[in-house]
């Protein structure tokens, strides 16, 4: 039975202080780490010394000879980030519970058993004969809610005579959203679709995605502010590595 599985006796302050240098520099054994962490609350001097060691380590890192990096390093670094799909790197941070909830709501929507509440003041029209569970009437966007916690917006096509449509859904106050698109045009070689959210004058990229042969695709995205705070959403066609600003080829657009 490992000693780390048993609570370590709390050390007196003097003994604790002897362990602080090793602890601060990552040299303490697991047993010693536990002893330090248990004892810090009872020995203010140990806490103060640990803070000193942290600041001293900052100075040690600054005290190395300063050498100019190769000029090409900056260009390589900028090329590397430009090649990264924006926001997708944060997908692993999506909370599992939310991911499950999002999948469940999508399943409910497309099984056509869901409630729809209309956000526009225009009178309702006959349902779309394609039986799409999200109804579009003119250029109005509909907000679909499953509960107090999930919001939906339909993004209609920005071009005439196309079937492109998108549904954006997110949890209230969340920075994580789910996009589902249908009827999108096929992408040219070297192109991708990119989702943009507008806040004030800024248009933030929320990620890029592809569509299949039916023009359907999906994107789980994570932005830096609650989606509720954004005002508009649009999807544009961009170069395959993504773009820093939305281009002119807008596929769908709608107010959030």
């Amino acid at each position: 039975m490992s000693s780390t599985q048993q609570p370590q006796p709390v050390l007196n302050c003097d003994d604790l202080l002897e362990l602080i240098p090793a602890y601060a520099f990552g040299l303490a054994s697991p047993k010693e780490q536990q002893q330090v962490e248990s004892g810090l609350t009872t020995c203010p001097e140990a806490t103060a010394q640990l803070a000193d060691y942290r600041r001293m380590q900052d100075d040690l890192r600054e005290s190395v000879p300063q050498i100019e990096p190769p000029p090409a390093l900056e260009d390589r670094l900028m090329a590397a980030i430009a090649a990264e799909p924006p926001a997708r790197r944060r997908m692993p941070q999506v909370h599992r519970a939310w991911w499950a909830a999002a999948a469940a709501v999508v399943a409910l929507v497309f099984s056509n058993v869901y409630w729809i509440s209309r956000s526009s003041s225009a009178p309702p029209k006959a349902p779309d004969t394609n039986s799409h569970p999200i109804l579009v009437q003119g250029d109005s966007s509909f907000v679909l809610t499953s509960s107090r916690e999930i919001r939906w917006v339909r993004l209609p096509s920005a071009q005439k005579n196309t079937d492109a449509t998108a549904v954006l859904m997110w949890n209230v106050e969340s920075e994580i959203g789910l996009l589902y698109v249908r009827g999108f045009p096929p992408l040219s070689a070297g192109k991708t679709f990119q989702l943009w959210l507008t806040m004030g004058d800024a248009k933030l990229s929320a990620g890029t995605f592809q569509v299949d042969e039916t023009g359907s695709g999906a994107l789980l995205f994570n932005v830096t502010a609650p989606i509720d705070e954004y005002t508009w959403a649009r999807i544009t066609e961009e170069p395959e590595q993504g773009s820093s600003e939305p281009g002119e080829a807008v596929v769908v657009v709608g107010e959030l």
Binding site: P21, M56, D59, R61, E62, P69, P70, M78, I81, S244
Partner: protein
């Protein structure tokens, strides 16, 4: 705006994937990061790769800076330091030196002292006040990321001796550092 406020604003922009802001971050701190990476690895190609890796971690937001816990510069250098140590361990080699004994290590450090510490830094002055044997061990622990056992194996010193000397050296260095950093003239 204070430096801290500027850095907070810069990081907010980077979190929104503002590439120009990211370039500014590199221009401000890239040299310090590269210098630290080189100090650990003693290899320019690896130092470049580690510097790029560290900045990519910031861009990819694998970890986020908390302004309440310290300055951006220190946070970035800590990321760089740990990334460099990880790389060094993977390479499984000690940069440019294979000392036969602690005496060789001490001699190497004293002969290369000009290249190991930046001129006119407080730490360089303080380090020079420590016994060479303690400086050698601090270097192996902090800049090579070695454990007590690894240091003992590297220097062929008994494990207990390594632990005692390292603890004494760090305690003395801290005392000197605290005394020095409390002096008003040296804090400006």
């Amino acid at each position: 705006m204070t430096v801290q406020a500027d850095d907070i604003d810069l990081m907010k922009r980077i979190h929104r994937h503002d590439q120009q802001a990211f370039r500014l971050l590199y221009q401000q701190y890239g040299k310090a990061a590269y210098s630290l990476a080189y100090r650990v690895l003693q290899n320019t190609a690896q130092a470049e790769e580690v510097t790029q890796d560290a900045f990519m971690k910031v861009w990819q937001q694998q970890t986020r800076w908390d302004p309440d816990k310290g300055q951006l510069r220190n946070w970035l250098l800590t990321i760089t330091h740990f990334t460099a140590i990880d790389r060094l361990r993977r390479e499984r080699r000690q940069p440019n030196l294979h000392p036969e004994s602690i005496e060789d290590m001490e001699e190497m450090l004293s002969s290369r002292s000009d290249s190991l510490w930046q001129d006119d830094t407080v730490l360089r002055m303080l380090i020079q006040q420590l016994p060479a044997e303690q400086v050698a061990l601090i270097d192996l622990a902090f800049f090579r990321g070695m454990s007590h056992s690894e240091i003992a194996a590297e220097t062929r010193l008994p494990l207990g001796t390594v632990k005692t000397r390292l603890r004494s050296g760090l305690q003395r260095l801290r005392e000197l550092w605290v005394e020095t950093t409390k002096l008003p003239t040296l804090q400006s």
